[in-house]
């Protein structure tokens, strides 16, 4: 065991630091918010160095680097230290670009990959529907080929970023006579058209990160399909060979936990800091056990992934671990807040209202549940761990409906 990165990688880290030192923040001014142009120029420069757009071939504007988990990890550490922009966040770079590179037509790669990688084009994902959540493959949004166009009718839900997106990648039922998984196609479509109506979905926190998308005779050209007709399910499951962020989830859990310790130090009960209360100390230390286990498991996965080996069942647990930690943190935070737990997190401060410095914890109390549900509920995660991880048989009803 050796928790250092070794000489080759420490040299790489120094090189990255030198690069950042002379290029970020723009003009050396950390207090000024960088302009869009400055960010774009920086990203192009970093790509020339091989630091960004790493898994994208050069002809599509990438730096075409071989996958290297450890370099990826060092880049994230160093860039985040200076808050330097990495690849544009969002589902476009995360899911669409790797899918197109693996399964797309040449013209599709040329048209969509470069502007997505630059952050000029934003995507949203049209997967979930009101009646198709965990059982996604039962989706009903219809796509019919009429002349040279797909005509799409149906409704998508939980669509993050739909208001800002230029395009959607959308799972659509185009072969209704086929068994459920085989009837789906992966279509790309323009969001700025009359057939698309985006309605924000207000969350229990009061914010609106998601949307409902209503498609009424929405249209897209015949060849804006990735893979063949009926291959959409497979395309959406394309195994993506990019660098995994093995330690990212744990780093976030750790950051929230550090915040919780600060909260325990800054809040009081009966005139004494909460951090001095033996019961609170026990709960903090117990949560820390989970946080450290999650963090060090990230090291384990990084090691395995960097050698191209499969880390095994632990890799299926990352989301549930983050969820469970978020849940425990939320509960302790609410106790530390005491009567501030009565406050509405989004209320606009008005004259005469007592302000609280800790409203963000009330948001976290609710938002931790959003994390538990998003991208597959905790119960679905448990199915995956039970079935793929422990080798338990599939649920009888799921088995029956899959058409196998």
């Amino acid at each position: 065991m050796d928790l250092s990165y070794g000489k080759e990688y420490e040299d790489f880290r120094r090189e990255v630091r030198d690069f950042l030192g002379s290029n970020w923040p723009p003009g050396g001014d950390a207090d000024r918010f960088p302009t869009k142009e400055e960010t774009a120029t920086f990203r192009d420069l970093a790509t020339e160095q091989g630091y960004l757009r790493r898994s994208i071939p050069k002809q599509y504007g990438g730096s075409d680097q071989p996958p290297d988990e450890i370099r990826g990890s060092i880049l994230r550490e160093e860039f985040s230290r200076l808050r330097a922009p990495m690849d544009p966040p969002g589902i476009g770079m995360m899911m669409l670009v790797p899918t197109l590179l693996e399964r797309g037509e040449e013209w599709q790669k040329q048209k969509f990959v470069p502007p997505t990688a630059r952050g000029d084009v934003i995507w949203c994902q049209g997967y979930s529907e009101p009646g198709s959540g965990s059982d996604l493959a039962s989706l009903k949004t219809r796509g019919e080929l009429v002349g040279d166009e797909w005509v799409i009718n149906g409704q998508k839900i939980w669509t993050s970023g739909a208001r800002d997106a230029h395009y959607m990648f959308c799972l659509t039922r185009t072969e209704p006579e086929q068994p459920k998984h085989a009837g789906i196609s992966y279509l790309l479509l323009d969001m700025k058209q009359p057939g698309i109506d985006v309605r924000p979905l207000k969350q229990m926190t009061g914010g609106a990160d998601f949307n409902e998308v209503f498609l009424t005779d929405a249209r897209t050209p015949k060849d804006w399909i990735v893979g063949k007709r009926g291959e959409g399910w497979l395309v959406s499951r394309t195994t993506l060979k990019h660098e995994r962020n093995s330690i990212g989830a744990a780093a976030q859990s750790n950051a929230v936990f550090q915040g919780l310790i600060q909260l325990a130090k800054s809040t009081q009960r009966s005139g004494r800091p909460n951090i001095d209360d033996p019961a609170i100390r026990q709960r903090l230390a117990e949560i820390e056990g989970y946080v450290r286990a999650h963090e060090y498991s990230g090291f384990r996965q990084l090691t395995k992934n960097s050698r191209g080996e499969n880390p095994g069942i632990i890799q299926m647990m990352n989301k549930l671990n983050s969820t469970n930690i978020g849940d425990r943190v939320a509960k302790l935070a609410l106790d530390l807040l005491e009567e501030d737990g009565l406050l509405d997190p989004i209320a606009t401060p008005r004259a005469g209202y007592r302000p609280s410095a800790n409203r963000s914890w009330i948001t976290q109390y609710m938002y931790s549940l959003g994390i538990a549900v998003a991208g597959g509920t905790a119960n679905i995660q448990r199915n995956v761990i039970g079935e793929r991880g422990l080798g338990l048989p599939r649920d009888v009803y799921a088995e029956r409906s899959s058409g196998k």
């Binding site: 989970y290 498991s297 090291f299 090691t303």
Partner: protein, 360 residues
């Protein structure tokens, strides 16, 4: 970055597992469990021949010169197999003498402990939940005569040499055959690792010169070994429960089909598997990251022994009625988990220590 165990370490674990499968199947384990002494000399000899007794001792004393991580991985495998015997106390006694002993003491004991000619153990516990060096009250008069009592000493009845914690946080050596040493069995719940009380009546002892500095290190190593053992036992409980779910049928299908049970089993695995990295890290820190070692050991022991105790409860439930019987093997590992949880202090003790060490 290499946070993984080596091929040699994997082989070592495999070797121990195979040995235990062959030499100590649950049928044999049960016989030892229900025997008077809980000690099977032939089985222990076999374990000694695998090299587990000298792993962490220096080559010049007949050891293999390896680290706590190697010892912990052995501990995990023994926990998985439910291995009865004095490994835990023996390993800690060797470590204490190696780190705190004089050259003469090392030469007298380490080769014999490494080769298995002698058995060692540690006497750290006292009445009223006392385990930690700063709490010890047994007084070594003039550093050479002991009068008083130690409790919960693993396999003292078969030990040749006992490392005893004394008031002031130091360590002394006592030979179990010495006058004034009265060893009485305690009815422990984990019958694979027996415990005794020792009453000292003006018993002769010799101090380990560096004992005060080393006692907390011995405690930390003990915490890591208990965490590793608990992890191994927890893995066995998860495996047994999963296996049962794949074979037991109700309503015409194996019960593993049912989501309620599947989720319970998944939760057991999710509580356990990440904590593997916790005992690895604590063992690694013991030899390589001194500033974190003490806290990492406390966290690993508190977290894993607590998680595994709950996993053991879940395992009983997952087995249904049969899980509650003496006949079901779950009880063997359930009790092992109880030992690992209570020995050297409960999770609450180590969480508070951890909070203090973090300056909370």
């Amino acid at each position: 970055m290499n946070f993984d165990i080596s091929e040699e370490q994997q082989l070592l674990q495999q070797m121990i597992r195979q040995f235990l499968e062959k030499e100590c199947p649950t049928q044999r384990l049960r016989e030892i469990f229900e025997s008077d002494t809980g000690f099977d000399a032939a089985l222990w000899k076999g374990m000694v021949e695998l090299g587990i007794t000298g792993l962490h001792l220096e080559d010049s004393y007949g050891g293999a010169g390896l680290e706590l991580i190697d010892l912990a991985l052995v501990g995990e495998s023994l926990g998985y197999g439910g291995a009865p015997g004095p490994f835990f106390g023996h390993a800690l006694a060797g470590l204490a003498i190696q780190l705190a002993g004089s050259e003469e003491q090392k030469r007298a004991w380490l080769p014999r402990l490494a080769s298995g000619d002698a058995i060692g153990t540690v006497a750290l516990g006292e009445a009223n939940g006392i385990w930690q060096p700063e709490e010890w009250q047994l007084v070594a008069d003039g550093s050479s005569v002991l009068t008083g009592e130690k409790l919960n000493v693993p396999f003292a009845s078969i030990a040749d040499v006992i490392v005893v914690g004394v008031a002031g946080g130091g360590l002394v050596l006592v030979e179990s055959s010495a006058v004034g040493v009265d060893i009485q069995p305690i009815e422990g719940v984990d019958r694979s690792r027996r415990i005794d009380s020792i009453r000292f009546e003006a018993a002769p002892c010799v101090p380990l010169p560096n004992g005060e500095a080393v006692a907390p290190r011995v405690r930390d190593a003990g915490l890591v070994l208990l965490a590793a053992d608990a992890f191994g036992g927890g893995s066995r409980l998860v495996d047994m429960s999963v296996e049962y779910a794949k074979t037991r049928e109700q309503f015409g299908v194996t019960i593993g089909h049912f989501q309620a049970l599947k989720h319970q089993l998944a939760n057991m695995a999710v509580e356990l598997e990440p904590s593997r990295a916790l005992f690895w890290y604590a063992a690694h820190a013991f030899d390589h990251i001194p500033v974190e070692a003490e806290r990492a050991a406390a966290t690993a022991k508190a977290h894993i022994s607590d998680r595994v105790m709950q996993i053991a409860r879940d395992a009983v439930e997952a087995h249904g009625g049969i899980g509650f019987t003496w006949e079901c093997d779950v009880q063997l590992w359930f009790k092992r988990a109880m030992f690992d949880r209570a020995f050297l202090g409960t999770p609450a003790v180590h969480r508070e220590r951890s909070a203090q060490l973090a300056d909370w």
